[in-house]
């Protein structure tokens, strides 16, 4: 069923030949499934996106949409089993990482592509100091001496604006506040000056005020270093300020891709529209919050046709029969909806 999807919007050079296309990082028709005792869950069903240097791509979606699994596959930290890549490519500087040796992939981690995780308390090792965990990168990957590595680690803590970086070096993760811990996490991921940074819900576990600070910091560091950034989130509010482009995921597929302005102004997929409508608004105080009815699909049994059709307010018979491919609509935007044109052109 998922084989019907032919990604006609694939990036140039993504014709399966693996020919370099000048893109920094490209995910091309990626397919991942989880083989469990209860059955096979098709978690990623042909995801295609790319990110260039100096640009931020936000990947938006509910839990279970496959946004984190895509990131884990890029990083090569997918738990196998149960997760298996069944198709597609992940190209870094045009080379397919899925065909590389374990050692080649390891070298890219941290240095080429680095990642920030959601829950900094569990993502940092509780029994080593924060400083050790940052300095470790310089010592193991750069062969620096203990004292040089420490100096560089303190510099990194300074760069992410941790006050008293020198004193904080020998603190343990549990002695940091949530925000400080996430800053330390950022310092750790940027230590080897990566070209691509994947931030997997970096602010979800934080207070709202701290969220803004962390997003500002990330944006600032991304601009300074001209990194390509993939920002994974389910929070539309987080995305608006930082992202250049947004890819919306649903049931392991990209359902819409557009720049921030177009997406917010004229969403071209009913799912995106639903997400935008579900943001609580001050001028609707007291009214019931709007939600998207229904639940995300069971990935072991994805509805035929458009996977969103059981929840879609615009669903027509065609939606139950035919899977809409991700098609270019206008410049630089794409939608996987049979009625994308109507959606954009209404009003």
């Amino acid at each position: 069923m998922s084989d019907i999807l032919v990604s006609e919007q694939s990036a140039p050079g993504a014709d399966g030949s693996g020919r370099p296309s000048g893109r920094l990082l490209e995910v091309d028709d990626l397919r991942v499934e989880f083989r469990t005792r209860d059955g096979v869950a098709k978690v990623i069903n042909g995801v295609t996106y790319h990110v260039d240097a100096g640009e931020t791509l936000a990947v938006l979606g509910e839990s279970g949409s496959g946004k984190s699994v895509t990131a884990q596959t890029i990083m090569g930290i997918l738990d196998t089993p149960p997760g298996f890549v069944t198709g597609g490519q992940v190209r870094f500087h045009g080379k397919d990482m899925l065909k590389m040796s374990a050692e080649q992939r390891r070298r890219i981690r941290g240095e080429g592509i680095a990642m920030i995780f959601q829950d900094s308390l569990s993502a940092l090792n509780p029994v080593f100091t924060v400083g050790f965990q940052i300095a470790e990168q310089f010592r193991v990957r750069r062969g620096m001496s203990r004292s040089d590595a420490k100096k560089r680690a303190i510099e990194m803590l300074d760069q992410v604006k941790i006050p008293n970086a020198k004193g904080r070096f020998s603190n343990y993760p549990h002695q940091f506040s949530g925000g400080m811990r996430q800053r330390a996490m950022i310092a750790m991921s940027l230590a080897l000056d990566p070209e691509v940074l994947i931030a997997d819900e970096p602010t979800t576990a934080l207070d709202v005020t701290v969220q803004a600070q962390i997003m500002d910091l990330l944006g600032e560091l991304q601009r300074e270093r001209q990194m390509g950034m993939i920002l994974i989130t389910h929070d539309l509010g987080v995305v608006a300020d930082v992202a250049d482009r947004i890819a919306v995921m649903y049931a392991g597929r990209i359902v819409e891709e557009a720049n921030v302005y177009d997406l917010y102004a004229k969403p071209a997929h009913p799912y995106t529209l639903g997400l935008l409508n579900s943001i609580p608004r001050l001028d609707e105080k007291g009214q019931e919050l709007r939600t998207i009815k229904g639940l995300p699909p069971n990935l072991m049994n994805i509805p035929s046709g458009c996977p969103f059709n059981p929840r879609c307010p615009m669903a027509q018979p065609v939606c139950r029969e035919k899977l809409p491919p991700l098609l270019q609509i206008g410049s630089g935007r794409a939608s996987a909806c049979h009625f994308a044109e109507e959606l954009v052109n209404r009003d």
Partner: protein, 308 residues
């Protein structure tokens, strides 16, 4: 860290008093005449009884007896046997042997148990995993004396790989087999605990982070994973030294080692109460010291404990 250590040390005091009193009370309250059977068929002469009663305060209340015993103990005086031998002398000759055996057992336990645990924890459900699970179950199910006699017969008597008994020199090579026998059940437990601990932590977020940092796999496992997984294993190993020493009676018997097990057994049979108490008190001290070490090692391994 200093406060942590102080608190742990203070906690030892009531435990030490409580356990030693209990032992003292149990041993000296055993019904029957402590002099029965001590002096041949005719019974003990009156003046011997008087001297011994005075020496052990046998007419005083149990509290006074215990207090004076403790007072002597802290001056290094463990008392004498009814035969007139210094008990500290018995302890000094037998304890080092048992300690040596127990340390060898502990080392084997740590090496084999931890090694098997780490290997199987990383690769669950493989051939090695099943092999270890079955063989550890075997070791746990069989009593020590069966393992001891079977291995002694096979390796010592049948195949002549080792000498079936241990000489009085107590060479380390001679102690390998008795050490393995003594620590066999514990080795199996260590392997299983380590396996579970490694397998659990293998999926932890911080391990994923370490991999995402591009660290080599042996560093991810050897530094990040192992340090966290060691915590439950350390408890098991640390508290086991005391148990190994106390439980060495059978192993010592099989391999002819002159250790505390043999001495305690003899003292119990001949109602040498002072000897029993003396040996057990030292054993209690070993337990307490090992427990303290485990607590300190804990704090060293896991900073969250240190800063509580």
């Amino acid at each position: 860290m200093g406060r942590y250590l102080l608190r742990r040390l203070l906690q030892l005091v009531p435990v030490f008093i409580g356990t030693t009193f209990l032992i003292y009370w149990l041993v000296w309250s055993v019904p029957g005449d402590p002099f029965a059977g001590k002096c041949g068929d005719r019974g003990c002469p009156e003046n011997f009884r008087a001297v011994m009663t005075a020496k052990y305060h046998l007419d005083d209340s149990i509290w006074l007896q215990y207090a004076s015993y403790m007072k002597n103990l802290f001056q290094g005086d463990f008392g004498i046997t009814f035969g007139g031998r210094e008990i500290s002398d018995i302890i000094l000759t037998s304890y080092p042997n048992t300690l040596k055996l127990a340390v060898v057992a502990l080392a084997i336990e740590a090496a084999i148990g931890l090694g098997a645990g780490v290997l199987t924890g990383l690769r669950r459900n493989g051939f090695l995993d099943n092999l270890v699970l079955v063989s550890t179950l075997f070791l746990i199910a069989l009593p020590v004396f069966v393992i001891g006699f079977v291995l002694q017969w096979l390796l010592g008597v049948n195949w002549h790989i080792v000498h079936p008994t241990v000489s009085s020199e107590m060479r380390i090579t001679e102690l390998l087999l008795p050490g393995f026998v003594l620590g066999s059940a514990s080795t199996a437990y260590v392997a299983r605990v380590a396996r579970t601990s490694i397998a659990e932590n293998r999926r932890a977020d911080y391990v994923r982070t370490a991999i995402a940092k591009g660290l080599p796999m042996r560093r991810v496992v050897g530094v990040h994973l192992l340090r966290n997984s060691l915590i439950p294993v350390v408890t098991l190993l640390g508290t086991d030294l005391g148990a190994l020493m106390g439980g060495a009676i059978i192993t010592e018997g099989i391999f002819g080692i002159n250790g505390i097990g043999r001495q305690v057994l003899r003292a119990i049979v001949t109602k040498e109460s002072a000897t029993v108490v003396g040996i057990v008190v030292v054993l209690v001290v070993v337990y307490l010291v090992m427990n303290l070490l485990v607590d300190l090692l804990y704090a060293a391994l896991d900073p969250r404990i240190r800063y509580e």
